[in-house]
Subunit: 254 residues, 6 copies
């Protein structure tokens, strides 16, 4: 097996589970980085689909894979939702369930030799992200002594990068289902954008744990989706892809 | 809201999470049946991809949705694997993890008013199926007293139907990655079939719980994939779609 | 300590917990195989006792022990029941409870040096058997690296053998509390057979997870108990004993 | 159904799981008290069998059932052991496992209408007893609002009564595998008494949680078994039976 | 009982568990708000004690209680630590442990009628805060239907307010064991401040989950403690007390 | 670092979490014993505060620390209550919660090198003590193979010593909130003693697990608090301090 052939194989697939068992062994031996996209089924206003948080990181992961030769694990399209959890259509899984799924997926990737991994979440709620981080922490801790090559896992939301793009004319407070998300979905799946949307604001209490956050979140939008455009979405997506690609390169290095 | 408009809306989407929050409310109110596809990331010989168990039920679910107006929930592409669990590329999650994911997904569907559900698994291992059934049992039990309309959940593997198709010239013992599965994948995703495959047999001990089942399962194929054909796959798939569509119609009735 | 004396000791007891601590140490050192019988407390028609699934494997285990010199661990007479779970008298434990009991019993046997074990269940429901298999899998996996002598565990239902006996004039569909079970109990504990029973059929839906399976299982009998006889029961039991004894001999070998 | 016929039925069986489903319904409707015997598999010196803690409460339960018409549930012959846990032959299950078994058994008895129960344990370690009490507490708490007739559960060790018998010439400090236990086993199963035993004392530290309690418990006997006699055992057993029978009568009353 | 007497009683104690059972009943009936302080045992540079995160919220809680008549529950001085978890002296408990402690404490307060609660944490790590919020969410959800008076729980870190004080001449990046924390401890427990401390910066990777965060956090200080002063600490503490007191008043209202 | 300097440092603090990270490292290296006080929030009659079980072991721990140079870990002031659990003000946590807190605290102490520990509980209920002992057992078992110096943990209630003091004129049956406890609190925190109290007796059934133990425990006092005196409390406390100090010295030795 030469590294040239290996590279050739790696480039022909983007999705890890489209490989055969032997192709997976080759990819793992070649040190291929894997991106694990995590999304949610969550209300995103009247204009965006429930899968808004899923299609953004999946788009980014596929583009990064095309560019860097990394692989994309089968996405997990469920998350722990908070403010939007009582809107119709939102499916919020238990904290512990997300943690166990992420732990099992990461542990099995590492067991297979894929020990350079990026967990890329389109949903960025704090409980959701903590579940992913605790899972990664457990796997990193357990795999430290056993692997010859150090296990390295990164956990991030693609919002961490998306909101770094400035000069788009969006207000600072833009958030859930706002101008950034609407622009990105317009660029990724325009067929799923159902009208222009309506500006709104999330007034969920700062400290109180309320059983009915939707009362403080009329319309389920935090920001002004009418400022969105396909072009802005493409610019944001390009930036996010570029940044995640850099992380992949960093994980390849040592 | 008239039922005509509702039907129109329902027919425009196949995937549940492509709906907006309001569209989801409409679909739930209309009593729309939901199919939840479950797969695995598992060795399927040298000729089939790791996602073999995922793409079969997803194909069936989408075809059934087109025909019946039901919706398809985001698939879960991980399973509890047994005989193939130590082959490269197989990612086997914990029994309890699968049970919790299925329970949360079903409970959230029911909470949203989608209380007629088919869990359609492409993987058919006994642990895997029991995890799904226990999850369904818990949700059925808990929702009985609260819902106005009775919650009804079916759990099946599409193998339950696929192996009912006779007169294909396949041996009785055909199984994992054999002629039936190979034919079906040839019909669904021919680009993922990597050669003709090689006949094999699974000799895992009948009763002993061995730590190394792969030693008794050389090649990871149980059956003769060389007997497969695209045409046979289409025939099998058509039969499975027809049978699952009947189940959807049954769930619609009362 | 000579092996002759060891054999002599082993033959004097059938039940593991009738040994003293020192006798247990001797038996473990001699590599004695242990059978762990598992039953249920479950409806078996009007003619058979709730302990029907318990007394069959216990009878087999004792007979095999007399013949092979293996030992029988204290039975666990509870199971995970499904179709019969709402009939009066059925006591169905949680899946997780059965799994933990089986895991603890197996782990403690192995810790004591009894690392060749047969889990012999009289109840054969799929959830029940999966709980036992997962427990065995966990113990086999964990004990692999530590024991000098390889841990080997088999998990089976005595139905796996009972229904292999042919030429008894029983219909193919015979099952729960039917002719086979009735015959076997007639041969083991005739005093517990309360009349001839009544033929019935289990019509529990193939795929739907119903909260009230008893509605589809009038009489709680699947088969025709009136075809049963003591002589047929003896023949079946003899066959099952012979087959399980072969498994014990196989476990003794290496 | 008249109460006379009910009584007749009840008296014909001692073991609950020897009833058929219909007989169980009758017994439950008649308010029959159930005793659930719990034992252990534990070292008891060189002269007593591992099942010493199991056969004592089972003997008592059967005798009480014969006298009072109560029923005996299938025994659970495993316990949480402490000082003797590292001796050969001892099988100690996890605290949580015992708690779950007891909870499931009690909850299923109550669900079946048997809501007057005595948990009678032959093992009396504090962890073991607490597991049983927590299980009973959970079931009592949950069943309070639902049952028409109040659920009442008692949890005790038969040692609570056995050591109340005085004037036997046994020292105050008699305990594990000592004169009382040896006498009782001599009276119940003389064939399992392997010699006279040897006096010993348990010097396990008062407060320290040691990993090797057997080092402080040479011989595994706390007391002087040579003082035991069959006649003394009969006297103790008779007293325990009488006391437990009184508890059954108390539970019958209201 | 008049409300005047009740008020009088309330004012005489600050700590909830210094009340007798009857006094607790009176306080609960009067609708008294309770603050539950949570801290950590965590490295805070060479100049601050491990209890830094505990004494800050406890100080605030006591001062608020004196001013508003609320009560302070016994503090829990352990937390889920991340960046500092491998420094000597840090004791980091499991996420699930913190969640269960907080859930039990909150549920027991509510069961006692204290259903207006502020969880005030001195540690502000995201895992730690999520554990507290999930606990509160569970209790709020479960108590909603049962209490006559609505259960209201707030969860916050006192950092949420401490870093709102401006014009102190501290850099924006001040954080763990920096100028704010050092000033506050100087004002609360000057005897526990061990020297001036040394400026440092936390360079833990933005996304990677590293097993050895201490390598990126030399000195365990994020900020410049040499800028701290007792006077600044007093000003910060006064502000935090004032803000938390406002929250108590808000909880009293309806 | 000389042992003289180490001793000097150790003597300046009593509470472990008042040390800085470096001071903690020094104390751990010096083999310093740690006392972990555990209490409860529980009804103690009308005359004693809810924190009665907390302040006794904390007082003892601090006095022992002053005398022996050991350290005191942050107390945990919650327990598993039984007979008093439904009185106003009692906060009883789940068995599993106490077990997890104790396990985490002990495991983290051991990880930090503090592997000689006394868990000193002011509450002495059997469930409560078993939770603490199981936690200690788990930590002792897991740390055995890894630590160079043997981990030693003791678990006790200070009642184990308090009731050894004789000649105080207290009846043998003195118990919860009785003369011993009242005397001790009078000596420790006289400001929290609210009157002389009233004699009472705990008549909770010997074996039955009742949902309403308070019905058998009018007044919540078991004994006669009117016999208490400050002087007797001082005598008892002095004896308990002396005994616990001996245990510390024993743990220091090897």
């Amino acid at each position: 097996m030469t590294s040239v052939k290996t590279n050739a194989k790696k480039q022909s697939y983007v999705w890890l589970d489209e490989l055969s068992t032997k192709e997976a062994a080759v990819a793992a031996n070649a040190g291929t980085v894997v991106i694990f996209p995590v999304g949610s089924v969550e209300e995103h206003g009247d204009h965006l689909p429930l899968c808004t948080d899923s299609i953004q990181p999946e788009y980014v992961a596929v583009e990064v894979a095309k560019r860097t030769g990394c692989l994309v694990a089968p996405p997990f399209r469920h998350g722990v939702c908070n403010a939007g959890r009582n809107f119709p259509g939102t499916m919020s899984i238990e904290f512990e369930t997300l943690r166990m799924v992420a732990r099992d997926v990461l542990a099995e990737l590492v067991r297979n030799g894929f020990n350079r991994i990026i967990v890329l979440s389109g949903h960025a709620g704090s409980s959701h992200m903590v579940a992913l981080r605790l899972a990664a922490q457990e796997v990193v801790k357990q795999s430290s002594p056993v692997s010859a090559r150090k296990t390295r896992i990164m956990v991030l939301s693609d919002f961490d990068f998306a909101f770094e793009v400035k000069d788009l004319g969006f207000p600072e407070t833009d958030g859930h289902a706002g101008a950034v998300e609407t622009s990105r979905v317009m660029a990724i799946r325009p067929d799923l954008v159902k009208g222009k949307g309506k500006a709104g604001v999330m007034n969920v209490p700062r400290f109180e744990i309320v059983p009915d956050p939707e009362k403080y979140f009329e319309g389920g939008v935090n920001g002004d989706p009418t400022l969105a455009s396909d072009a802005k979405g493409k610019a944001i997506n390009a930036y996010v892809v570029e940044q995640v690609a850099k992380l992949v390169e960093e994980l390849k290095c040592n």
